[in-house]
Amino acid sequence: MSSIILAGVGGQGTVLASKLIAQAAMNRGQSVRTAETIGMAQRGGCVVSHVRIGAEIFSPMVPKGGADVLIGFEPAEAVRSLGYLREDGVVVVSSKAVKPVTASLTGSDYDGSQALAYLKENVNKLIVVDAGKIAASCGSVKVLNTALLGAAAASGLLGLTIGDLENAVRERVNARFVEMNLKALAAGKLAAGAE
C-alpha cells in the first residue's frame, strides 16, 4: 500500500501525472484510488492530486501524515502539502517557482528560494530537480510533470519503475507527445540520480 501526493499550481499537469501513476500501478495488478482538484481552483490556484495504491483503501484522499511520496511541482506548493508526508517519506520537488499574481501586485519577493530552504531544513529525504529546465530541454515546459515522475521513480519509494511509467505514457499520452514525455522521464531520473 502506498500513497502519493502531487501538489502544484493549476495548469501544471498534476492530473495527468496522477493518471500515469495510476495506470502504471494498475498495469501491475494493483488497485488505485485518486482524488483531484477540478473546477474553480484550476485557474491558477493550488491543486493537489491524491493517489492511493493498494486493496484495503477506502478514502480517495491521503490522510495527513500518510503520504510516502510528495511530488512538489513548485517549491511553495510542496511546503503547503508537507502535512501529508509521513515521517520518513520522500519529497521530490521542482526548484522553479511559479509566482502568484498577488506576489507581483503586493511587491512580495517570493521566488521559491525561501520554500526550498524550508524543505532542506525540515525534510530528510529531499530530491530537488530543476524540472523546468529539464522539461524545456526535452522540448516543452509542459513535460515538467513527467520529468518529476522520472525523478520520483528514481527515489525507489514510488513502488514503480521507470519502465512502468514508460508503458503508462505510451498508453495514456497523445501519440504525438509520447517521445517527448519518455525523454523527460529519463532526464528526470538522471537528474534525481545526480542529486
Binding site: 477540478i38 473546477g39 484522499m61 502535512g83
Partner: protein
C-alpha cells in the same frame, strides 16, 4: 478487464449499461463529466443533449419518460433549484420509463455558491435518493435507481458528492443491458396535473414511502457492520464520510450503520442498529439529515439513545469531512488515537484563482473600467469564470448571487439609486441559461442599465461545453448558431454594440457609447476563450525601454507578467499574445517576442 474511471464516468456507464435512451443536463461542477461521458461512450442509440438549463433538461427527460424511455438528467446542486418547479410536480405525476436525476452536491463548498444538501430536496419532493460512498457504488446504484424508478413509477435521485464525482478508481464493470424498445406515449388523464389528481397522488405517495423505506432496509448498500460487538457506542454515516470513518477506525470494532438511501429512511434497519446502544455519533457532510432521522426515531420509539453529531456540536457544521476530522472526533468519543498535528508552516504565497493569461474577460473588464473612470458605477456580476473579475486589480464584480441574477440585480439597484450607472456582466452560456427573461424584464419595465455580454464562445468554467451560441451540439452535430446581438435587438434593446475586448481603444469607445444611451443598452464582447483558440505569438518586454512603472502589473493582474528585478517580465509559457499589456504600457516597451528579443 479493470478500467480506471472517474466517479462521474462510472455514473455515466452505469446509465448506459442500464439501457438509458435519453440523457440531458446542464454543466456544473462537480457533475459535468457525467453527460460528457455518455456522449463519448454513446453507441449512437442514446439521445444526449446539453439543455439550455436544468429546468429544460428535467422537462425534456420527463417527456421521454412519459413515453417509456429510460432517462438520465444531470446537474449540480444549485441546478436543482432551477429545476425545482418541474421536479415538485413530476414527483406527483410520476413517470413510466425509469428516470434517474443525478444531482452532485459540493461539500466545502469547492466550486459552488452554497452547501445545500440534496437529501433535503429528496425529502421535500418525497422522492427516493441514493447516496454513494464510492465510484463503484455509484455505478451499481444508477442501475438500482432505474429499477426502483420503474417499479414505483417515480423519478429517483442519485446524490454523489465532489469526492465521489471526481475520485478515480480502478474498477470492474458489469454487463450492459440491451436498450429495450420505447413503447411510446399513451394518452391518459394521469399526465395532466390537476388539483384532484394531486390530492389522490399525494395520498398515494404518503402511503408508498414507508413501504419503500422498509424495502430499502434490505437494500445491499444500507449496512450494519460489527453487528455483534458488545460496545454501547455506535457510529452512523453515509456517502463519502463512510470511507473516512472506515479509514479512521482502522481495526477498531464499532457498530457502524451506513445509510445509502437517506430518503425514504430505512427505519427497520436503523432500529436494528440502535438496539442495544447508548450513544451514536453521526458523520455526514452538509446538513444533519441522518442525525435528525435518528433523533426522530428515538423519539418515535422512545429509545434511550443519545444521538450526537452536528446538532450537538460534536461534528463540524460546515465544510468537508476528512479522515483527520473524523479521527479528531473519534479520539474524544471512543478514545482512539488522536490525529497527528500537522507541522506549522512558514508564510506561503496565497494563490487565489485568477483569470487566465490571455483571457478575453480581462480585456472586457478593463475596457469598462476605463470607460467609467471618474463616474459612479456599480458592476453586477454572475456565475462563471468572469466571477474572478472581482479579484484585484480589476475589481469589477460588485455582486454575484446566482445564474442570471446580474441583469435583474442591476435593475433593482438602478430603481433605487438614480444618478449611478449600473452594469450587468453575463457570460454567453449564462445568458442563454437564464439571462433572457431578465433582459425582457428590464426592457418591459423601462430600466436604465447597460448589459455587458462576455461571449467567449463556450461554457468555459466547467470545461468548454457547447451551448446555443456555439453552433454545435453535444452529439457533435451542427446546430443553428443563435446570435446574441440579434436576440438582444429582438427583445427590444435598442442600443446593441459589439466589440473586440483586446482592441482597447475601440472597446472603451463601445462601452461609452452604450453607457451613454438611456434605457437598456448592451455591449457584446466577442472573443473566444483561450481553451478553444490557438495562442498568438508571445510578447516580451524590452528591458531597455521598460521604465519599471509596473502599470501593466498594477492594472491588469495577468498571471504571465511579473516583476523581474526592477523591470516587468513576461513568462512565455503562459503568454497567449493577447497584447492587452502592450496597449496599457505607457512607454511601448512590450511587443512581439521576436522583435524585442
Amino acid at each position: 478487464m479493470k478500467r480506471f474511471l472517474m466517479g462521474n464516468e462510472a455514473i455515466a456507464l452505469g446509465a448506459i449499461h442500464a439501457g438509458v435512451h435519453l440523457a440531458c443536463g446542464y454543466p456544473g461542477t462537480p457533475s459535468t463529466e457525467i453527460l460528457e461521458t455518455v456522449a463519448r461512450e454513446n453507441d449512437g442509440g442514446i439521445y444526449v443533449e446539453w439543455s439550455v438549463n436544468e429546468k429544460a433538461a428535467l422537462e425534456v427527460a420527463a417527456g421521454a419518460s412519459y413515453a417509456g424511455a429510460r432517462t438520465l438528467v444531470t446537474m449540480k446542486q444549485v441546478g436543482l433549484n432551477v429545476a425545482a418547479d418541474p421536479l415538485m410536480s413530476l414527483a406527483y405525476v410520476g413517470v413510466k420509463g425509469g428516470m434517474v436525476i443525478v444531482v452532485a452536491d459540493d461539500p466545502g463548498p469547492i466550486s459552488s455558491q452554497t452547501e445545500q444538501d440534496t437529501r433535503h430536496f429528496a425529502r421535500f419532493s418525497k422522492l427516493p435518493v441514493f447516496d454513494p460512498s464510492s465510484p463503484e457504488e455509484a455505478y451499481e446504484m444508477v442501475k438500482d435507481a432505474f429499477d426502483l424508478s420503474e417499479k414505483y413509477e417515480t423519478p429517483v435521485l442519485l446524490r454523489p458528492t465532489t469526492r465521489v464525482c471526481h475520485g478515480c478508481v480502478s474498477m470492474e464493470l458489469g454487463n450492459p443491458l440491451p436498450r429495450r424498445p420505447v413503447e411510446g406515449f399513451i394518452k391518459d388523464p394521469k399526465w395532466v396535473i390537476f388539483p384532484a389528481l394531486s390530492y389522490r397522488n399525494h395520498l398515494r405517495i404518503e402511503e408508498r414511502n414507508p413501504r419503500l423505506g422498509d424495502e430499502l432496509s434490505a437494500y445491499r448498500f444500507n449496512t450494519i457492520s460489527n453487528k455483534n460487538t458488545t460496545g454501547k457506542k455506535g457510529i452512523a454515516t453515509g456517502g463519502i464520510s463512510w470511507a473516512y470513518v472506515r479509514e479512521a477506525l482502522g481495526d477498531a470494532e464499532v457498530k457502524l450503520f451506513r445509510v445509502a438511501t437517506p430518503h425514504p429512511f430505512p427505519e427497520k434497519l436503523a432500529l436494528e442498529f440502535l438496539d442495544g446502544l447508548d450513544e451514536v455519533m453521526v458523520f455526514e457532510e452538509l446538513d444533519p439529515v441522518i442525525e435528525r432521522e435518528l433523533v426522530y426515531l428515538c423519539g418515535k420509539h422512545r429509545l434511550n439513545v443519545a444521538i450526537r453529531g452536528k446538532l450537538t456540536g460534536d461534528v463540524q457544521k460546515a465544510g468537508e469531512n476528512s479522515v483527520e476530522s473524523v479521527k479528531a472526533v473519534l479520539h474524544k468519543y471512543l478514545g482512539l488515537p488522536a490525529p497527528k498535528t500537522p507541522p506549522s508552516l512558514p508564510g506561503l504565497p496565497v494563490r487565489p484563482p485568477v483569470l487566465c493569461a490571455g483571457c478575453p474577460h480581462r480585456g472586457s473588464f478593463y475596457a469598462v473600467k476605463q470607460a467609467m473612470k471618474g463616474r459612479k458605477a456599480v458592476f453586477a456580476g454572475d456565475i462563471g469564470c468572469y466571477t474572478l473579475g472581482n479579484a484585484q486589480p480589476l475589481d469589477m464584480v460588485d455582486t454575484c448571487l446566482c445564474m442570471g441574477a446580474d441583469v435583474t440585480i442591476a435593475q433593482g439597484l438602478a430603481h433605487v439609486q438614480p444618478g449611478v450607472k449600473h452594469f450587468a456582466f453575463i457570460g454567453d452560456s449564462t445568458f442563454f441559461a437564464s439571462g433572457l427573461t431578465g433582459v425582457v424584464n428590464a426592457v418591459y419595465n423601462g430600466s436604465d442599465i447597460t448589459l455587458v455580454v462576455l461571449d467567449n464562445a463556450t461554457t468555459a468554467m466547467t470545461g468548454q461545453q457547447e451551448h446555443p451560441g456555439t453552433g454545435k451540439t453535444l452529439m457533435g452535430k451542427p446546430a443553428p448558431k443563435l446570435s446574441i446581438p440579434g436576440i438582444l435587438k429582438a427583445l427590444g434593446v435598442e442600443e446593441v454594440v459589439t466589440a473586440e475586448p483586446f482592441d482597447l481603444e475601440k472597446a472603451v469607445a463601445a462601452v461609452q457609447k452604450a453607457a451613454d444611451s438611456p434605457g437598456v443598452s448592451a455591449v457584446v464582447f466577442e472573443s473566444p476563450c483561450i481553451a478553444v483558440r490557438k495562442p498568438d505569438p508571445v510578447l516580451a518586454v524590452d528591458e531597455n525601454t521598460c521604465v519599471g512603472c509596473k502599470k501593466c502589473i498594477r492594472e491588469l493582474g495577468c498571471p504571465a507578467i511579473s516583476l523581474g528585478g526592477k523591470k516587468a517580465q513576461i513568462e512565455p509559457s503562459l503568454c497567449y499574445g493577447c497584447a492587452l499589456c502592450a496597449q496599457v504600457c505607457p512607454v511601448k516597451a512590450i511587443g512581439k517576442g521576436a522583435e524585442n528579443a
